[in-house]
Amino acid sequence: MRLTLLAQSVFCVAALFATMTGTARAQSVAVTSIVEHPALDAIKDGVKDALTDAGHTEEKGLRWQFQTAQGNTAIAAQIARKFVGDQPDVIVAIATPSAQAVVAAAKTIPVVYAAVTDPVAAQLVPSLEPSGSNVTGVSDSLELARQIELIKQVVPNARKVGMVYNPGEANSVAVVEQLRELLPTMGMSLIEAGAPRTVDVGAAARSLVGKVDVIYTNTDNNVVSAYESLVKVGNDAQIPLVASDTASVARGAIAALGLDYYEMGRQAGRLVLRILDGENPGDIPSETSDQLALHLNPEAARKQGVTLSSELLETAAVVLE
């Protein structure tokens, strides 16, 4: 009885496999990201729009598929295996864990990564030069000197910069390590507060009260998810907040010189197009995004005890009312 059930289930699985194999080949792009989240989704949309603008639409035979690992590395690994088995023309992998899973599995299929802060440390490519392998992509690293410049423009006498981040997020740790070296050369210092979970963000921010002149945050997933709890501390304790993603400005940060993730998606999409047109991914150097936009929030500045200079207001792409 047991064994018949087993046999039945094995048969069902086998039947399903059979129905799914053997589809005709057309130009195909497979996209995966580690989680679904506004910035990462914007990249996916950017890739798709870049393809659409170049005439690659699903109506015209483009085979497009998107899979998210829902934050689970084992599922990311299975998605990578599925994609390699599907043999698409290009795989687009968004965020570090997904990109690593895909690069580990795909040895020959072209891979375009996006939203990876340090692709070299993640061993996706040996350097930012043409890799000679099947991998290229767009990194989302921000030039930190420009970020520090912004901090100084918002809070001219800032000496101690606080930062709330998740010590478990590779991208954030990379930023913290660079700031630790960079800030002292500019007469400033970094004071860190770890928030391993989203619910820890508020407490981490409170631990910085009285110790810092300004709180800077990167695109840390935990912090961005719970940015409101940071804003509450900033407003209550009159600590200016400077963010790295422009969406956080609308949520209560004073300023952000941030990446436009949709534009980064389009940039990755252009790499996909070059590969679809026959270029070898190993000949294409890795890119960084230079589409930076300054967003300002004067209302938040007032609440956090800062007056924005007129030249800063003039250079801003967006000033919130």
Binding site: M1, R2, L5, L6, S9, V13, L16, F17, T19, M20, T21, E36, Q65, F66, Q67, T68, Q70, G71, N72, T73, A74, I75, A77, Q78, I79, A80, R81, K82, V84, G85, D86, Q87, T96, P97, Q100, A101, V103, A104, A105, A121, A122, Q123, L124, P167, G168, E169, A170, V173, P196
Partner: protein, 295 residues
């Protein structure tokens, strides 16, 4: 679904088969609700990855990773037996402590192994492609461990371990040091999970701090799916069943990834997996009801 995806699902399924064997020991044999697994799986990955990057030979790195998992399990047992902390709470404490410890071991949240040698690189053959040889290698490891476990649980100490789980008072009356058995059982269980983590990191080319999240859920699901397929109480059958359960779970995920043909989307993946597992859990109940109605 392609062959490549199928072999990939088997490979990951066999690796989680090690976790399932570990969970079988703690939850079923010892009857100890042990959540340390969520920490010991990435602990194995962290230790193996860090040592391999430091230039260690992958086999000894994997061995040390396994021992580290055993140590973590023993500490959970010690918290419970010596410090009298409730079993579930002791394992939760160890699980959250391991998050920080794993970060300390790796020094950063993500240690890639894409360009490093692994245990798998020693078995690269010209005749068999890598995507087939790797699952077969993991299968060999799982089978060896299953057989060793079957043998151990039949020895005197193995029987003492089982007695500790099923009736601790009786076991103590028979002169079994139940405290020591809890420690040993949890050490064994978590050593297997850490071995799974070490192999997972090497097969996926990365050790990431977020790898452990939900390991216990997958391990338990594997045990329960396995048990609902074979309701036998024989240990030899149970150890095989839970490994099969882990493999089936991965096949469900692979199927869910291919479910777009019925209009389902990527974000439905967890739901589809949950529904498929639920169906498996309900099947024995339905069958029983059917039998009752016939009588």
């Amino acid at each position: 679904m392609s062959w490549y995806a199928l072999w990939g699902a088997l490979e990951i399924g066999f690796i989680y088969g090690l976790v399932a064997l570990g969970v079988l020991i703690s939850f079923r044999i010892l009857r100890f609700p042990d959540l340390t697994v969520d920490g010991s799986f990435p602990l194995g990955a962290a230790v193996a990855a860090t040592l391999i990057v430091a230039g260690w030979e992958p086999f000894s790195a994997t061995l040390v990773a396994t021992l580290a998992g055993g140590l973590a399990g023993a500490i959970t047992g010690w918290l419970n037996v010596r410090l009298r902390i409730m079993d579930l709470l002791a394992s939760i404490l160890m699980m959250i402590a391991l998050y920080s410890i794993n970060l300390r071991i790796m020094g950063r949240p993500n240690v890639p192994l894409i360009t490093e040698p692994t245990v798998f690189s020693f078995f690269e053959l010209d005749t068999v492609p890598e995507y087939i040889s790797r699952p077969l290698l993991v299968l060999a490891v799982v089978v060896a461990i299953k057989l060793a476990l079957d043998w151990y649980l039949g020895t005197r100490t193995g029987l003492a371990l089982r007695a500790t789980g099923s009736n601790p008072r009786m076991a103590r009356a028979q002169g079994v040091a139940t405290g020591v058995m809890v420690l040993a059982g949890l050490a064994l269980s978590n050593a297997l999970c850490a071995l799974g983590g070490a192999l997972f990191a090497q097969s996926q080319g990365v050790s990431d701090i977020s790898m452990g999240i939900g390991t216990i859920v997958i391990g338990l699901a594997a045990v329960i799916v396995g048990e609902s397929l074979f309701s036998s109480r024989k240990l030899i059958v149970m150890t095989a069943a839970v490994v099969l359960g882990a493999v089936l779970y991965r096949l469900f995920v692979a199927l869910a990834l291919n479910a777009d043909f019925i209009g389902l989307q990527a974000q439905d993946l967890n739901l589809i997996t949950a529904v498929l597992v639920t169906i498996f859990l309900v099947v024995p109940l339905l069958r029983q009801k059917l039998r009752e109605r016939r009588n």
